[in-house]
């Protein structure tokens, strides 16, 4: 088994081990298999996200036993996060926001004919990350939940700023262009009714913009539409097939993964920790893990050009957020990630009261679920490999004339299903066309999307921190003197100054395409 589980198995103190057997009923195994398959397929389709997978399938679980329902939802969730890698790798379109950073190296790998290898790597990384996240959930949930509560609005503000500095670090080509793109995304995030303050901003009398720009529909448009535009422009096949698709290239992937075990471990832990922070989620986790992997790498210039370590970092960290996100959800009753919010609602309908007492009073449900999550994660290995191979084969073999309308239909369907509304579909297409034009001017989609995601976190963190700080006496002190804030600020400075220390960018340099 490829899983490298750093948890303390066998020390005799694994909590709730007696429920392992309860998790392994035929029904639960069946639900885990079905959930992983359904999640992976939905996640793999561009435009259909993990949150949506959980949301649309939640009603089907209401008739089940609580533990079984949770296992099914956990399996769907973890499958969907993994499935997002397929379209990231094969179509340069993240299937879910968590897979944005997977496009950086996944698509270049597919372009040079290593799409199957990239998908197998993603599968290995996802299983590893998922197991690490689940292990933290099993062993350390209550203390970690307490840690998450230390993060106040000010820390979220600095965390978002940290994310923005990563844009600069990650921009391929020109750093300046990346930063300008980030600003565009940040400005886009201000459109609509401000959650904090209630101002109506930049809607231009359009009622459809009152709710703001939806991140998911923007994501679909910004990535998918330019891909489609370039697909129809030439008769060349979408991906070149350089070899016979025979196996999974499993051994090769396993070798690469084993060589990068420290990257996998680090990224999984980053993913778990970011997942615990309510409101952060897989997109930020994978970004941080990617930036760290690149920073530590001996060969940072290979990142963005098809570096397997990039995929290992993003895919292990985003699946680790699944287990991590369940920690505040179950311990505190506060959803860790957007899909957790849906799952929390399902728990309430089931009559389960979350909170610190859940682990003692309803331990049967919790531990059965956690072992079910392990089961689902392990099942992801065979299921993911098989679906992945099938996805790879079909993407490379179906002709453009069938691929383009199918993907186009999925973007329409996915953006509609975000809110079951055509407004988001219109936003998606318009943003997509703008993205294509910007692409011709040298501005890529990723900084814009990250700006859009981080904008709301940064702004509400800032305004809330300001209000709280003012009430306490000084807003400035609030932002600078809290210990965790100071820590994050130090990280930000480290990221910004590290290249200088390395002596890479000594003097102000031209934007170049190296």
């Amino acid at each position: 088994m490829a899983s490298r589980d750093p948890s303390t198995w066998g020390n005799g103190h694994v909590p709730g081990i007696e429920f392992l057997i309860k998790a392994l009923t035929p029904l639960n195994i069946l639900l885990a298999v079905g959930g992983v398959i359904a999640g992976t397929v939905i996640g793999a389709l561009p435009g259909l996200t993990a949150t949506m997978a959980v949301a649309v399938l939640v009603p089907l679980t209401f008739g089940m036993e609580p533990a079984s329902a949770l296992i099914a939802l956990g399996a769907i969730y973890t499958g969907a996060i993994y499935g997002g890698a397929y379209s990231a790798v094969l179509l340069n379109t993240p299937g879910t926001p968590s897979a944005i950073a997977t496009t950086f190296d996944g698509y270049p790998m597919a372009r040079r004919g290593d799409g199957d290898l990239a998908i197998t790597l993603a599968c290995l990384a996802s299983v590893t990350g998922g197991l690490v996240g689940a292990a933290f959930l099993l062993l350390l949930a209550p203390p970690l939940a307490k840690f998450a509560l230390q993060f106040g609005p000010v820390e979220y503000f600095w965390l978002a700023v940290f994310g923005l500095t990563l844009i600069a670090a990650l921009s391929e080509g020109s750093v300046l262009r990346g930063l300008i793109g980030g600003c565009i995304g940040l400005l886009l995030s201000a459109i609509g009714t401000a959650e904090v303050g209630g101002d109506i901003r930049y809607t231009g009398e359009l009622k459809s913009l009152l709710g703001g720009i939806d991140v998911v529909s923007a994501l679909i448009g910004l990535y998918c539409v330019p891909v489609l535009m370039d697909l129809v422009a030439t008769p060349d096949p979408h991906l070149k097939l350089t070899h016979e698709v025979a196996g999974f290239r499993f051994r090769e992937a396993l070798r690469i993964a084993w060589r990068s075990k420290s990257n996998l471990a680090r990224s999984s832990v980053i993913g778990t920790l970011v997942g615990i922070l309510p409101g952060a989620g897989g997109s930020i986790a994978s970004l941080v893990a990617y930036a760290e992997a690149r920073r530590v790498s001996k060969n940072p210039s290979s990142f963005g050009k098809g570096e397997p370590n990039g995929i290992l970092a993003t895919e292990s960290s985003n699946n680790a957020t699944v287990g991590g996100g369940f920690i505040p959800t179950l311990v505190l009753g506060i959803p860790g990630t957007p899909p957790d919010a849906v799952i929390l609602g399902a728990l309430l309908v089931q009559g389960i009261r979350t909170g610190p007492s859940l682990f003692s009073e309803q331990s049967q449900i919790v531990y059965t679920f956690i072992y079910g999550l392990f089961l689902a994660t392990i099942l992801m290995l065979p299921i993911g490999l098989v679906i992945g191979r099938y996805a790879f084969k079909s993407i490379v073999s179906i002709p453009k004339a069938a691929l383009v309308p199918s993907v186009a239909f999925l973007t329409i369907l996915g953006s509609y299903a975000v809110h079951n509304n055509a407004h988001e579909t219109q936003q998606m297409v318009v943003l997509g066309l703008i993205a294509w034009v910007l692409g011709r001017f040298g501005f890529t989609a990723s900084p814009i999307v990250l700006g859009l995601i981080l904008g709301t976190i940064a702004e509400s963190g800032f305004v809330q921190g300001y209000l709280i700080g003012n009430a306490k006496g000084s807003a400035l002190m609030e932002f600078l003197t809290r210990p965790l804030s100071a820590g994050i600020i130090a990280f930000i400075l480290l990221t910004l100054l590290y290249p200088l220390v390395k002596g890479r960018i000594g003097a102000p340099k031209l934007p170049s395409n190296e």
């Binding site: 930063l179 489609l228 422009a233 186009a408």
Partner: protein, 151 residues
């Protein structure tokens, strides 16, 4: 890619973004102080970044990437088809619009010679893709799709 020249596209784009930044700051005058601080800061930062970009681009020529070659006509046709798809969803209904626009994008993307066999194959693909996804979402997952005027 070795032909060094001024990055004219970058300069144009930067000027447009700077103008957007100015507009954003201008419109922020009506917002409450707390609601205005974020867009103002970002817009100001964007204007500065754009100015720096223009200065660099004017001072030193760089290797400019040539845009991908390809058929502009098909790109424009696809853009129109996608826009129509999004705009007609509600008035015409989800299914009807999707059938029409699916067919349109299929024709735009096809470079092979149309033969009866090809037409039948692609029609089958269309029915399969649209039918399966529409069926699952509409009937199993209860997604409320607009039905439009004809249904």
């Amino acid at each position: 890619m070795n032909n060094s020249e001024r990055d004219l596209r970058g300069i144009i784009a930067s000027l447009v973004f700077a103008a957007i930044g100015v507009l954003a700051i201008y419109h922020a005058r009506d917002f409450s102080p707390l609601g205005a601080v974020f867009p103002r800061t970002i817009a100001a930062a964007m204007i500065v970044l754009c100015a720096v970009y223009v200065v660099f681009a004017v001072l030193r020529p760089i290797a400019v990437e040539k845009p991908q070659p390809g058929s502009a006509g098909r790109r424009i046709a696809l853009a129109i088809a996608m826009l129509a798809w999004a705009l007609l969803l509600e008035p015409l209904g989800f299914l009807l619009t999707s059938i029409a626009c699916f067919a349109a994008t299929l024709v735009i993307a096809n470079y092979d010679k149309w033969t009866p066999r090809l037409a039948v194959t692609y029609a089958g693909v269309g029915i399969l893709v649209l039918g399966t996804l529409y069926g699952v979402f509409s009937y199993v997952l209860q997604v409320p799709f607009p039905t439009g005027v004809f249904l």
